[in-house]
Amino acid sequence: MLSQTHKVIMALLFSAEEPLTSGQVDLCLEEPVQLDEIMAEINEYFEKEGLPVWGQKIAQGYRLMTREEYEPWIRRLYQNQGNVKLSKSALETLSIVAYKQPITRGEIDAIRGVSSYLKSLLEKNLIEIKGRQEGPGRPLLYGTSSHFLEYFGLNSLQDLPKLKEIEEIMNVEIEDGNEEEYVGNPAE
């Protein structure tokens, strides 16, 4: 059976966002422990019970991993959980396309100051090619798709929050630091 120390370390391992180090464990338990030994015992327990996880030792410490043999199922999970998530750069690019469409890649890059990858947004069907711009090189014009509207729950592009509304949401925040102090703002 698992000892209390094993359980506490397991709880730490389960909830840690970064690899769990021996130093962290000592701090949390307020006594020094032999993390390598305990982790070996925990892994033995996982193995014996046939649990789908194990503690992997990497340079910075231990981290909880799912076992390799479950990868096919987990991959399928990510495919249908993960298709609604965007990185910061993808989000930036998407926001420019949404607000300035139709727009060329060159114009997007000019606003972001770096070159942008549109491929993943195109693959996710959030943006689409709307035609070509007249003029030299006739570059492709991009705009948002109907899937984009669906994803963000918009009836039409007119329902995008206006910049003025965003400003309102953002600016009032300056006073938000004082939100407990409606009455008590020092006058000067």
Binding site: L86, I111, R112, F152, E167, M170
Partner: protein, 246 residues
């Protein structure tokens, strides 16, 4: 009257009123308006004497309280006994009851927050699985889209805009274009002028040029119907003066 109350604990005038109601065990449906107004104003005086800035909402509530107080002091006109006389406090009571409901609910949310905060979600490392990391980082909502765009605009060098505005277009130049157009015609439709302009800035500057030319009595403008096309007409007599000015 002594106040052992922290000054910054009130969320607003309704919160402050509810504090008095609770402290003095007042029936919310039968508020002694004169008493509570006095308490409220005294509190505001203390705030002022401490040189604290009062949010506008607090002043607004003070005036509402005083209005109700006056209404209650006024002798009521005799009305049909069947007819109910509206209590001047009704609106205030409704506001307080409604607000109190959500204030109670928020206390409950606080408890729920505390309970749930004791659980930590289990996090497993997932780097054995390959997926598109560029598309798998953050939850995105509509407001994020707007904020991202707004921040991008904010971070763009502002001078870019100014360069374009001051670039190669000015009032004199547009006036010159108009004069060229007048060299073949005596009267020009504004819509035909606007038709050759490329963007909004050009329209604005050209419009300013027209106003300048009207002011210097170089041309006159007229319109046949409201919202109809504007006609620009060259004024022959003043031509020499204008050339001299230019």
């Amino acid at each position: 009257m002594s106040y052992n109350v922290k000054l910054d604990v009130f969320e607003g005038p309704l919160d402050l009123l509810l504090f008095f109601i609770k402290r003095d065990e007042i029936n919310i449906y039968d508020i002694p308006i004169s008493y509570i107004t006095q308490e409220y104003l005294e509190y505001l005086d203390i705030m002022k004497s401490m040189n604290l800035h009062l949010a506008g909402e607090f002043i607004l509530m003070a005036s509402l309280l005083m209005r109700i107080k006056v209404q209650m002091l006024l002798p009521r006109e005799k009305v049909d006994s069947e007819e109910l006389i509206e209590d001047p406090r009704t609106e205030l009571i409704q506001m307080l009851v409604e607000y109190q409901k959500y204030r109670e609910a928020s206390a409950m949310f606080k408890d729920m927050e505390e309970t749930q905060n004791k659980f930590y979600p289990v996090k497993t490392a997932t780097d054995t699985i390959s997926w598109d990391p560029g598309l798998f980082l953050a939850d995105v909502h509509l407001v994020d889209l707007g904020i991202a765009f707004r921040n991008l605009l904010e971070s763009m060098p502002k001078t870019k805009y100014y360069q374009i505005e001051t670039y190669k277009i000015n009032i004199n130049q547009q006036a010159q274009i108009l004069r060229t157009m007048f060299s073949t015609k005596k009267r020009i439709k504004f819509s035909s002028v606007a038709g050759i302009l490329k963007n909004r800035i050009e329209v604005v500057v050209t419009f300013l040029a027209i106003l300048e030319m009207v002011k210097s009595e170089e041309i006159s403008v007229s319109q046949k119907t409201i919202f109809g096309d504007i006609y620009l007409t060259k004024i022959q007599l003043k031509e020499t003066n204008v050339i001299a000015d230019a």
